[in-house]
Symmetry: C2
Subunit: 237 residues, 2 copies
């Protein structure tokens, strides 16, 4: 189960803990591309995690604009926080066909009561999500479109590598330019132009679904990207 793998990047798990988590999974289901796996205003009784596929947390404004506030990749909990704050603030959509699993809030409560170490590791997930949010805020507020794009690509590269979805500096990026725009706060047209620039400069290539980082040092330099905020280090917590 990929989310267990992810917890193990933060700290070691005992066999008991691993088994407990395996046993906690209620049900798996497929979510077709384009469909909401979480709807805004719902009060779910379980938390959902991604097993396969990409998902986006988004909100829609009156004027029809959409802003994506988080991109989720396999292994990510999509609404772990719904355990503590009942009403979901935003919807989460399947960007590709997804397979998701759920853990009942009741089970999570049990973990918080009887397995503090596991509870802390789950909380690390929430904290890291917050750190990613802050990076997005910095990028939206003070970086140029080009730098912002570079930063997002760096982030996705590192996150996907952490779950084994990167081979040879290249990975599947099944986002449309419109979705990228909604993540970055840019128009589709401008996303297109920024990507063309990055390609022309030999920083990335993007053929079909696969995005390849051709010049990681320079991309990272442009983005001022520092992966520390993802806390991908095993340490006692």
């Amino acid at each position: 189960m990929p989310f267990i793998h992810k917890l193990e990047q933060y700290d070691r798990l005992s066999d008991t803990e691993r088994q407990l988590l395996e046993g906690a999974i209620v049900r798996q289901r497929a979510v077709p591309k384009g469909e909401d796996m979480i709807r805004e205003g719902d009060c779910p009784a379980e938390s959902t995690f991604l097993i396969k596929g990409f998902a986006a947390r988004y909100s829609l404004l009156r004027n029809g604009k959409r802003q994506i506030t988080a991109l989720h990749v396999p292994g990510d909990f999509v609404d772990l926080h719904s355990f503590l704050v009942k009403k979901t603030d935003h919807a989460v959509m399947a960007i590709t066909p997804c397979t998701v699993g759920t853990i009942a809030h009741e089970t999570l409560r049990g973990i918080s009561e009887n397995h503090p170490h596991l509870a802390r590791l789950l909380a690390v997930n929430i904290v890291v999500d917050g750190a990613i949010h802050r990076q997005w805020i910095v990028a939206m507020g003070r970086r140029s479109a080009r730098e912002h794009m570079a930063h997002l690509l760096c982030e996705l590269f590192v996150r996907l590598r952490a779950v084994g979805l990167v081979t040879d500096d290249s990975f599947d990026l099944p986002l449309t330019q419109a979705e990228l725009g909604d993540s970055l706060g840019l128009s589709t047209v401008h996303v297109n132009r920024v990507l063309q620039d990055l390609r022309k400069e030999g920083l990335i290539t993007w053929r079909g679904e696969a995005l390849a980082i051709e010049d990681w040092p320079r991309l990272q330099e442009i983005a001022e990207f520092d992966p520390t905020f993802l806390s991908l280090e095993v340490e006692p917590r």
Copy 2:
């Protein structure tokens, strides 16, 4: 202690829990205006909360630009997450002279081991911070400067009211226009013009330090502001 008051907005506390928290506070200290209470890259052994004053979490970019990623008001934990993720990602500065208190990570660990209900309430803090971040992302990405400003003022109004710092629809807002700009991702000049507009339209007044909301319904309407994301409701958690 204002942060205990804040936890009680999420759920009821037992007397034991209250006493435990009171006893957990290690030391109070004053932080002069303009000084960092948390430095980037530190690995603190305690978490800090604000007793009095305003603080801002920020990061600086190579090009000298600054982005504020969170504004903290009395009662807020400023780096509760540093308990779970050792290295702090951003610095936190005192915007006004502040009084802060700290709780040792060791103590927080004890709470997570033996007082799951308290641990959950502390986690709610982290979750709500995340929800605020997402609102900021939406506002930065897809709202106009005017709407964004209105949204920030609405947010501060509700958060400050929740800690009793609002009287008669008006409150102390000790932020300079430059600091507002760094929060919104705007230039100081533009902040000035946007504020003038809001004043001209009779939505707010700002004399000296005190900001008064003159037309709450319309301000809220402009910002598409919905306070739900702050989870200011007492419920069992």
